[in-house]
Structures are given as structure tokens and as C-alpha cells.
Amino acid sequence: MNSPNVQLGLPTPERLKQFRIWDSYFTPSYSHPGPDGSSRLIADIERSLPAIRKGEFQKLCYFPHVGVGTTSDADFEKLARTNPDVTLKALKRWPDMLLGMIQLNGNDVRASLDALNRWLRDGPMLGVYFPGGGPAALPCSHRNFHKLVERIAELNGVIMQHTWFTTGGKLSPGASTPSELAELASQFPEQKFVCAHAGGEWERGIRAVQNSPNILVETSGFDSTAGFIEMAVRELGAGRIVFGSHLPSRSLGTELAKVLGAEISDDDKRLILGANYRKLLQPILSKGE
């Protein structure tokens, strides 16, 4: 094991702490937490801990499955529906580190509305995640989203929507593009949306959401392609960008370097790495007071 003070490519730990990093896109065991509802999830969080510590992250938001059909495992879905403790296990183990946003199923509006009441209205979850693949994926321009967004807005929840612009067309029919998110967002101007991965092909993704002031872009999920953050700051403003790590399937290097290595001001880095996300969460966090 290398000594913990190896900082190649990183600022000093003291300076990293000053960025006050909140990670909006932590993906431990993203597609399935394990047949018992938590073992794979917890193993993946533990696997990420060295990078989390090295990056001096303060908080990370992950996306638990809550039994609304976001996996294809019927036994797990039943377990998650009937035993909420399974869903809470990781949050209880790392209460100061983890935040949660539940994965919703646009194909099952009734179950998703029930889950919103159970997990957002009653806490402790702070928002929702709409996946781009798997059995719950549905293009976010579908009318099913309207009832869900209305209820999420009532609960002051945050919406993270997986998006990709894939060369040659969508990889799956349920995937969403930034253009489809812009279409949805235009109908709910008071609700904030996060365009996960900035569409992957970010030159198109940034343009697609540029005129949607209620959409922020999230930074993870693709190679550390240079120029992304600079273009996003130039075209959207640093206030519309939130950092995501995609750990552990991506890396601290790939994701944090996009922001740290960008030719932008430290004030802008501070916004992107944490301040914008805290502002986004403030309405639902304030509700608990």
C-alpha cells in the first residue's frame, strides 16, 4: 500500500478541504445492492473509501433501490418493499457521509408516487434518480413523468436524470437525452433538474440545456476529456454545474481532475465541487427543520 501522503496530481489535503466537496453522483453497486439488499453496496462503499478520503470529500449522494421495479430481481424488489431497514443500512453505517436519492421507475407511476411519500415526504431521502437503463428506464419526455415531477416539486426534492447523447443513436429505448430533459424541464420552470453526465457528449449536451435555466449539468460518467468544464462554465455559468464522482466504477482521478485541472477560477471550482449542490438541496434540507 502506498503511503497516504502521496498526492500526485492533487492539491494538498488542506486545500482540498477548503473546496468542501459534496459528490452528487456516487454509484456503489449501482444496478443492484446484493441479494440481501446491502452487501454489495456496502462492499463497494468500502472499496471507495480510500479515494473518498484522499479527495477529502465531505458528503456523497448515492441512489438506493426501494422496490419500485428498478432491478430485474423479483426477490430483491419484494425485500426492499417490505423491509425498509435494508434500504437504510448504508445510511445508518455512514450517517455523516452519505446522502440518498431514491431510484424511481417512470414505467410504474403509482409505485413511484408511493415511494415518494415513503422516502421523501417522511425522509430521509433528498430527491430522486431516473435511470437511463434497466427495467425502470423511460425517456423523460414521456407523459408519465408529469405526475411524478409535480409530486417531487411539492416535496422540494431534487431530480437527477441520467442522460446521454450517444453517437449513432440511443443504446436502449429507455435512455434519455439532454434535449428530452430540456423538453420536460420547460414544463416545470420552478423545478430544478440535474442533467447527469451532461449528456456524455458534452458539446451537444451543454447546447441542449443552455436555454433551460432550471437545468444544471453533472460532471461524471465519461472520460476526463479536456475542455468540458471550460465550455460548461463559459456557456452555462459555473452556477449550473455540479460535481459527481461516479465512484467506484469511475475514479477520483477521472472525475475530480475534470474540475481541478480545468482553467477556471478557484471560486468557480468551489461552486462546482460543492456549493451549487448544497444550494440545490437547501429547500428539502430546510424542510426538516
Binding site: 498526492q7 500526485l8 453517437t167 479536456a226 475514479s251 477520483l252 481532475a257 426538516g288
Partner: protein, 291 residues
């Protein structure tokens, strides 16, 4: 368990203490006295599809220096699509002469008439220690007899060959220039037939069983530029024989800090193995080039 009020309270309290000092990551990332770093995978000049913040060689070198990178093996983005490769390699050699850290790695396109002359020029005129191939952008496969011929000639001249297995995620490529990753399946058999050959695969995302086959083939080496996941580099190091993983960033297309952080972020590699990945393996592979 923390409730929403606790989370907000922490955020507000921490906010009062936050004042980020104006400094840059790159200026603080320099641990050169402890780690010598050789980057086996950079490119110079303009990426064909958009501007890059570091596509000026002067800026790239400044950044590499700030990160403590002592030497970088530089190909040319012009080598992807240009057909006057003699001119491409001449410009590359000239640019590298202005920067002692940069070692020129010429481009060869086996689809072009007279590629043999380009190889000769790289070796004799420009004293390049190796050449870089882009089979997917140039339109041939590795079972092409011309590839075997080039590998024999380069090996006979004591030169290594780099194969860029990809330059960009296929999902984000320009719609009119969609280039699949290089099929590396023929490589083990070809390299196994040339005992002194040295081939480095750049920008790969290899998995078993092909990774296992390549790992079993002496003479095949790997870079780190697109090896992702928080513990991806240590897993690659464990999956192949010692000495076969060379640090590479794929800068300036990728942010160079990314690969540098990735080699150590999991804490798995001890200092000895870190030193091997960061420079030792590259020195042995190249015969210790002088920067």
C-alpha cells in the same frame, strides 16, 4: 442517524470557514523528488474535432512540468488524418527539439504508399525511439501482413511500436467519423513470433480473456490512460507480469491529472510498484531515453 436538519447545520457551519486560497492544483501536485514520472502517451498539436486547452506544445509542457512529469513520449494528432506523414513527423520532431522533456514518436500509416520510407525517416532522420500506429483511423487490421512487416523492421532497428487502440470513446465520436476500437485479438500470435518485439497498447480498456492472452505474451506492454475505476490500475498491474504497465495520460485530449491521481488513489500500490509504473517500467521498455 443524521436527519435533514443535521445535514444543513453542518453545511452552514462549514460555509463560514470556507475561503479557498487562490492556487492551482498543478502547482501543488509536484512530487518529482520522490517519484520520477515518464508519460508514455501524449500527443501534440490540434485534435481534429475541437480545441483542447493544452493543444499548444508550450502549454502542454508547462502543465507536465507542473505535475512533475520528467519525460513525455509525444505522438501527433496530425497523424490520425493527415496523409503527408513525412511533414507530420518533421513538425513533431521540430517541436520536440524545443522541449527537452518531449520524445518524438512518429506516426506511420500502413495504408499509404511509401510507409517504409516514413519508418526509415523516423529512425534515421529524426532518431525516434519508436513509432505510433492508429490502425482504426487508417483502415487496416492487425493481421495485415504490412503490420507484421513493420513490426519486424522496427524491432530489427531496436525501436518499439505503440498501438493506439482508441483515441476517443466511440459513444462521443463525430457522427461522420465513427471509428471502432482496434481489434487486438491477432496481437498475441504476431508478437509471440518476434522474440525481441516491444509493443505498447495505448488507451485500452482490456478485459479477460483478451487481457490474459496479451499478458501471457512477452513483449506486449500497456498504458494507464483510460484504465478506469478507483482500483483499475492496481488490478491491471496485478493481472499482468511485472514491468508491463507504463504510465500514460493521453494528454492533452484527457486532463493529465486524471491518470496521475488514478495510479495512487486506491492506496493499493506500494511505493516500489508506484515507481515502477510511473517511470521504471518505461525506462526499461525504452532503454532509458535521455530527455
Amino acid at each position: 442517524m443524521m436527519n435533514r436538519r443535521d445535514v444543513l447545520g453542518l453545511a452552514i457551519a462549514a460555509g463560514a470557514a470556507s475561503a479557498v486560497r487562490p492556487a492551482t492544483a498543478r502547482s501543488e501536485g509536484n512530487e518529482a523528488p520522490r517519484f520520477r514520472i515518464v508519460d508514455s502517451n501524449v500527443s501534440l498539436f490540434r485534435w481534429p474535432f475541437h480545441r483542447l486547452p493544452l493543444d499548444d506544445p508550450d502549454l502542454l509542457v508547462k502543465k507536465l512540468r507542473s505535475l512533475g512529469i520528467a519525460q513525455a513520449w509525444a505522438g501527433s494528432f496530425e497523424g490520425l488524418l493527415h496523409r503527408d506523414l513525412a511533414g507530420v513527423n518533421r513538425r513533431l520532431a521540430e517541436a520536440c527539439r524545443r522541449h527537452p522533456e518531449l520524445i518524438p514518436i512518429g506516426s506511420i500509416n500502413l495504408e499509404l504508399p511509401g510507409w517504409e520510407q516514413d519508418l526509415t525517416s523516423c529512425i534515421t532522420e529524426h532518431s525516434m525511439p519508436g513509432v505510433r500506429l492508429h490502425p482504426n483511423y487508417h483502415g487496416y487490421t492487425l493481421d495485415d501482413p504490412r503490420f507484421v512487416s513493420l513490426l519486424k523492421s522496427a524491432t530489427k532497428a531496436g525501436r518499439f511500436v505503440q498501438i493506439a487502440s482508441a483515441m476517443e470513446d466511440v459513444r462521443t465520436q463525430h457522427n461522420l467519423v465513427r471509428v471502432p476500437d482496434v481489434d487486438l485479438a491477432p496481437l498475441p500470435e504476431i508478437v509471440a513470433g518476434l522474440s525481441e518485439a516491444r509493443v505498447q497498447i495505448l488507451n485500452h480498456r482490456l478485459r479477460s480473456p483478451l487481457l490474459d492472452q496479451l499478458a501471457k505474451t512477452p513483449g506486449v506492454y500497456f498504458d494507464t490512460a483510460r484504465v478506469d475505476s478507483t482500483d483499475g490500475v492496481p488490478k491491471l498491474v496485478d493481472a499482468v507480469p511485472p514491468g508491463r504497465v507504463l504510465f500514460g495520460t493521453h494528454a492533452p485530449f484527457l486532463v493529465p491529472e486524471a491518470a496521475l491521481i488514478r495510479v495512487h488513489e486506491s492506496g493499493v500500490l506500494d511505493d516500489s510498484r508506484l515507481n515502477a509504473v510511473l517511470a521504471g517500467n518505461a525506462d526499461r521498455f525504452s532503454g532509458k531515453l535521455k530527455a
